[in-house]
């Protein structure tokens, strides 16, 4: 993330860090791995009190940020989250809040926003569908006109924390086109089944919608006009995800460098072997580049810059690919211990691998970039 932070932001970062170190150290994350929920609701309420859910929301709705640039502040939280492989719905809830905050037309959801900001409620975005790759604009899930609103039918999967969430933000195809609905997780006809997650605490589930009736007020924004909202949510998702991955890289690089100083082979520290030194130099360069592109994407999305969509995809293309490459080389630097359960490396590798795969892979985003820089040959699909 940005090198230059304001005094307030530095203080905020320290608060976030302190809270995570005290309340969610890696030992706690490992414990949470064995629970069914993956995080603690009370803990999340306390996190919300620190403002982690307020950054993307206007002050009228109980929101507010440290610097006035809410997404940049939130990215600070995400980065610290990454350093500690944090649990809980930081990304999930904020992605939904980004959509709700941007949906200035259409039904009023301010009470829901308030409940999410307070941490009382948890929401998540239901956008992937089984077997499918990233294609958020063409959901197979349908919303047809019903007696008192809409009837939803279809299946979503890879829904983050769906078992734990109160509300689902669901992308659906209506006669008017792409539409998003806010659906209570306990609505009749909704069934949630946990799926396996590579991440120890970031859970995913498959959610089935069988004739789920929702009122017209469940629509977010305008019917058939969800595309800009989905883009906004995607941009926020990737900024947070990339910031989180940057934090993970930073931390792993720290302890791997330390290992290279402490570990001796043939009477010399690993850090004295040129072949390894050069790989550390490469990693350092790549990590700085990850920070640079994440910061640039965050700033562009924050400012609503014209090239925000492009820079978000640039960041995903770069961070998604480099992160796993760096982490695997850190495993290699550790030797056998790097692939043991007791070493923390795999916690980071799991998080980064899930981040790489989610909300479009680096490869998907390269195609998106091509559609921006060479639009005339864009595939019409």
């Amino acid at each position: 993330m940005d090198l230059v932070l304001s005094a307030d932001q530095k203080l905020f970062r320290a608060t976030v860090k302190g809270f995570l170190e005290k309340e969610a150290p890696l030992t706690r994350v490992r414990e949470l791995a064995d629970t069914s929920t993956g995080f603690d609701r009370d803990w999340w309420s306390r996190a919300a009190e620190l403002g982690w859910t307020a950054m993307l929301v206007s002050e009228e709705l109980g929101g507010g940020s440290v610097s006035g640039d809410g997404l940049l502040d939130l990215a600070i939280v995400a980065e610290e989250f990454g350093r500690g492989v944090g649990p809980g719905p930081l990304l999930a809830t904020n992605i939904v809040l980004a959509g709700l905050a941007a949906a200035t037309d259409g039904p009023d959801h301010s009470h829901i926003v308030e409940a999410l900001v307070s941490g009382e409620s948890v929401a998540t975005w239901a956008v992937y569908e089984p077997g499918g790759q990233w294609s958020p604009l063409t959901p197979g899930l349908t919303a047809k006109p019903g007696s008192d609103g809409f009837v939803l039918d279809g299946v979503k999967d890879r829904v983050e924390l769906a078992e734990q969430a109160d509300l689902l933000l669901v992308t659906a195809t209506t006669e008017q086109g792409l539409t998003q609905f806010l659906v209570p997780a306990d609505a009749a006809g909704v069934s949630v089944e946990a799926s396996r997650s590579l991440d120890l605490v970031r859970r995913f589930a498959e959610v089935r919608f069988a004739g789920v009736e929702v009122p017209g007020s469940a629509v977010v924004g305008l019917v058939g006009r969800a595309e800009p909202l989905v883009e906004r949510q995607l941009q926020v998702a990737i900024v947070l995800q990339s910031a989180e991955t940057c934090g993970a890289l930073e931390r792993v690089f720290e302890f791997t460098t330390q290992w290279a100083f402490d570990r001796y082979s043939f009477g010399r520290p690993l850090a004295s072997y040129q072949a390894l030194k050069h790989r550390f130099a490469d990693m350092k360069t790549w990590i700085e580049a990850c920070h640079a592109t994440t910061g640039a994407a965050a700033r562009a999305v924050q400012d609503g810059a014209e090239d925000a969509a492009e820079l978000v995809s640039v960041a995903k293309s770069y961070v998604g690919s480099r992160s796993t490459q760096i982490l695997q080389d850190c495993v290699q630097m550790h030797g056998g211990i790097g692939v043991t359960w007791e070493h923390d490396l795999h916690l980071y590798l799991r998080r980064a691998t899930v981040n790489r795969a989610l909300y479009g892979t680096p490869e998907d985003h390269r195609l998106r970039i091509a559609d921006i820089i060479a639009p005339s040959e864009r595939k019409t699909s």
């Binding site: 077997g131 043939f266 009477g267 010399r268 072997y273 695997q328 290699q332 692939v339 795969a357």
Partner: protein
């Protein structure tokens, strides 16, 4: 037994065929392998099978008869292995018991050690393993710090070993320890035969991210060893370890005459099947994915071809023996790339870790192939120094009393 009394291979083969059909159970092709870390029943079964072989007179085919074997030739062993196809066999004993530990004892051990340990292994009574690597060790095996101090007629062992394959199931281990701290590192080591389960040894199974628990870690607290536990010479342990490494390489290359039946009985992590992953991800028709399928397949074929080339090179003497590191480096590199391709092909499905080939879980073990059996970094040192003849890396511990060698804090 003189040469003239050796049974002809064909006669032996026919006898083996008949005996196997009558005595050994057929492999159950529908049997489900046990989950990682839960193979106790398999080890019990392994001992039973070895006892059957022994009772039938088909155990230890190439071991000398004075140590409980049959004293026959590698051709006899090959014939038996061919005939054993389709039968359950005590494959778990092939590595390290029969192919590494027993031959090392045969090369370097005392007469008593040979008689007791080798014959017990052949009878199916004992399993042998290796205590070599140490938590502080890494690539530098000879830099180990587990100590054995003389105490009258006995030795007192303190320290820790790790990455001991299947030690939990074993009876005896070949354990390398430092006995002279004033000598340079290779010259102050002694090899011991250590009873694995006894007071003074605490064993812990290491869980890998794949869930496998085949490796163990052992801690020694004032473990007392009798004088006759020494294998070879006191302070001559490196010579014993070198034989072990030689037998290990031979076994890995498939050239050991002491293994019986094909394979090691241990299921290694299956390679990802890229085509299957592509199909499960619904992307097998995507030209981007097809290019990756082609690349992955090409790399796997090339790796087979490389192994073949280097093997011929080694056999015909056209390549020096360090060329084996070329196979090893090529193997690791192929694995890395295929694992990366699997992740890319799975795309958004990698989130769950499960699904086709459990792509995500598999990815967590991506470095497995480049860490086991000497790191790829060591392979690159060997290739550049011993094949290309480039100057050797500076070793700060060369010809220095080991007690003066710097050791790290981890």
């Amino acid at each position: 037994m003189t040469d003239s009394t050796v049974e002809a291979v064909e006669s032996f083969r026919l006898r083996a065929r008949a005996w196997l059909a009558e005595n050994m159970p057929r492999v159950d092709v529908d049997a489900v392998p046990p989950p990682p870390g839960d193979d106790d029943a398999e080890w019990v079964r392994t001992r039973e099978l070895q006892k059957k072989l022994y009772a039938g007179g088909f155990a230890g085919i190439c071991f000398p008869s004075e140590y409980g074997g049959l004293g026959l030739t590698p051709e006899h062993q090959r014939a038996f292995t061919e005939e054993s196809e389709g039968y359950e066999m005590p494959l778990l004993l092939n590595v390290p018991t029969f192919s590494i530990c027993a031959p090392t004892i045969m090369d370097m051990g005392s007469e008593q050690q040979k008689r007791e340990r080798i014959s017990a292994a052949i009878r199916g009574d004992e399993i042998l393993v290796q205590f070599l690597s140490e938590p502080s060790g890494g690539s530098d095996l000879a830099g180990l710090v587990t100590r054995a101090d003389r105490d009258g007629d006995t030795w007192v062992l303190n320290g820790a070993k790790t990455w001991s394959t299947c030690a939990y199931a074993a009876d005896y281990a070949l354990c390398l320890a430092r006995t002279d701290w004033d000598a340079p590192k290779h010259r102050g080591l002694t090899m011991f035969l250590v009873k694995v389960h006894q007071p003074g040894i605490t064993m812990r199974r290491i869980t890998q991210v794949s869930g496998s628990t085949e490796f163990c870690e052992e801690f020694f607290d004032d473990l007392v060893l009798p004088a006759d536990a020494v294998v070879g010479e006191v302070n001559g342990g490196w010579a014993v370890a070198s034989r072990q490494l030689f037998h290990e390489r031979t076994a890995v290359g498939g050239g050991s005459p002491f293994t019986s039946g094909r394979g090691t009985g241990r299921v290694s992590q299956p390679k990802p099947d890229l085509v299957q992953i592509a199909r499960a991800s619904g992307r097998a028709a995507d030209p981007r994915v097809r290019e990756m399928l082609g690349e992955g397949h090409a790399l796997e074929r090339v790796q087979e071809q490389l192994i073949r080339r280097v093997s011929i090179g080694l056999e015909t003497g056209q390549m020096p023996s360090p060329a084996a590191s070329i196979m090893r480096l090529g193997h690791a590199e192929t694995d890395w790339r295929v694992d990366d391709l699997a992740l890319e092909i799975a795309g958004g499905l990698a989130v769950s870790g499960e699904g086709p080939g459990r792509v995500g879980d598999n990815f967590l073990m991506r470095q497995g192939a480049s860490l086991g059996g000497g790191s790829t970094e060591m392979s690159r040192n060997i290739i550049s120094e011993r094949i290309l003849g480039m100057p050797r890396e500076y070793a700060a511990d060369r010809d220095v009393p080991f007690s003066q060698v710097k050791r790290g804090s981890s």
